[in-house]
Symmetry: C2
Subunit: 198 residues, 2 copies
């Protein structure tokens, strides 16, 4: 099965989009370790329908699905199923994609961002979306404290760790190797990811 894997490398700080047919699997690999990926998914037939973190929390009654559970769209239709997790298991669906406004506040308005990476990656496929959805932040470590306070901790994924999804519909999956190098979530050094589809 692995022999037919198509690998797309996502260079450090950049984003890439892949088309994934229903029933195929898509895996995000942390090539060097300690790197967050912002993942987005859109229905191939109508990219206005997209993976929704809020609807996924509502349907699963969890902050993040467990293996075997589905991420659903804003129309509550399964789009990706969490098929496997070969990582320490810290992932996030609470934090927005970094964007020009975030970096402007940090004093570097021209900095690359996951929001802009999403736009550029979709444009390669001729797709435009009006709104940046809440991403699925793979390998991102944002523990929730009892008080409701969120902590921002460095990703603890190791080189070769991965998270695997099965497409529940024909979809477009975008992964941005988060370019954030001004807070510690990527261990201060953005590195590449890979997207495997098989």
């Amino acid at each position: 099965m692995e022999s037919t894997t198509e690998r797309t490398t996502v260079p450090a700080g950049e984003g890439r989009a892949v088309r994934v047919a229903a029933g195929r699997r898509v895996r995000v690999v942390d090539l060097e370790g300690g790197q967050v990926g912002d993942l987005f998914a859109f229905a191939a037939g109508d990219p206005r329908e997209r993976l929704s973190a809020a609807h996924t929390r509502s349907v699963t009654s969890r902050l993040f699905p467990e293996v075997g559970e589905a991420f659903v769209t804003d129309r509550r239709r399964p789009i990706l199923v969490l098929a496997g997790d070969a990582s320490p298991g810290s992932h996030d669906m609470l934090i927005a994609a970094c964007d020009p406004a975030r970096y402007a506040a940090l004093g570097v308005p021209e900095h690359r961002s996951c929001a802009r990476n999403l736009e550029l990656a979709l444009a390669e496929l001729g797709i435009e979306v009006a709104v940046t959805p809440q991403p699925v932040n793979v390998f991102m470590r944002i523990p929730v404290q009892e008080s409701g306070r969120l902590r921002w901790l460095p990703a603890e994924s190791r080189a070769g760790d991965s998270i695997t999804f099965e497409a529940a519909m024909d979809c477009v999956v975008v992964v941005s190797a988060c370019p954030q190098d001004m807070v510690g979530i990527n261990n201060d050094r953005p590195t590449p990811l890979a997207i495997d589809v098989w």
Copy 2:
């Protein structure tokens, strides 16, 4: 000050929109107790800019702002400041608005919903939006367990309890008195809310 309060009653299961100028205060009152309100806010100048739960969590590093903190838009600009909370303090920004897909899954596709209430309330002001944002669910009790599991508990607000915001920009605020009567969040009986602006 209270003498100039304009009250808009939100009938049980319905939604209403109000315009709120920068610096004015808007208060959501639970008239009979135990009722969830789905609150949305949009920039008056361009309703494509709207209160974003994800960006608010990111900026505050909290699941829900504390009194004195701001809810921000998807452009990370403050839109409402949490000015006061005269309720037991349970509010939610994790759960999506109920919508026709939710009720279709419960077997009643024609049921009223907060998503549809939002559309109808905005249409009264001649506003249309492409996407239903993640709402601020006032009085909604969704505790997060250490495992990441979310519990759905009945609202514990009492008659007359309220939550107050100060507008940080000219905005449109929509409140839906959640029509959910098939799970217990509204104590099985949807009741009215009020929106006070002063």
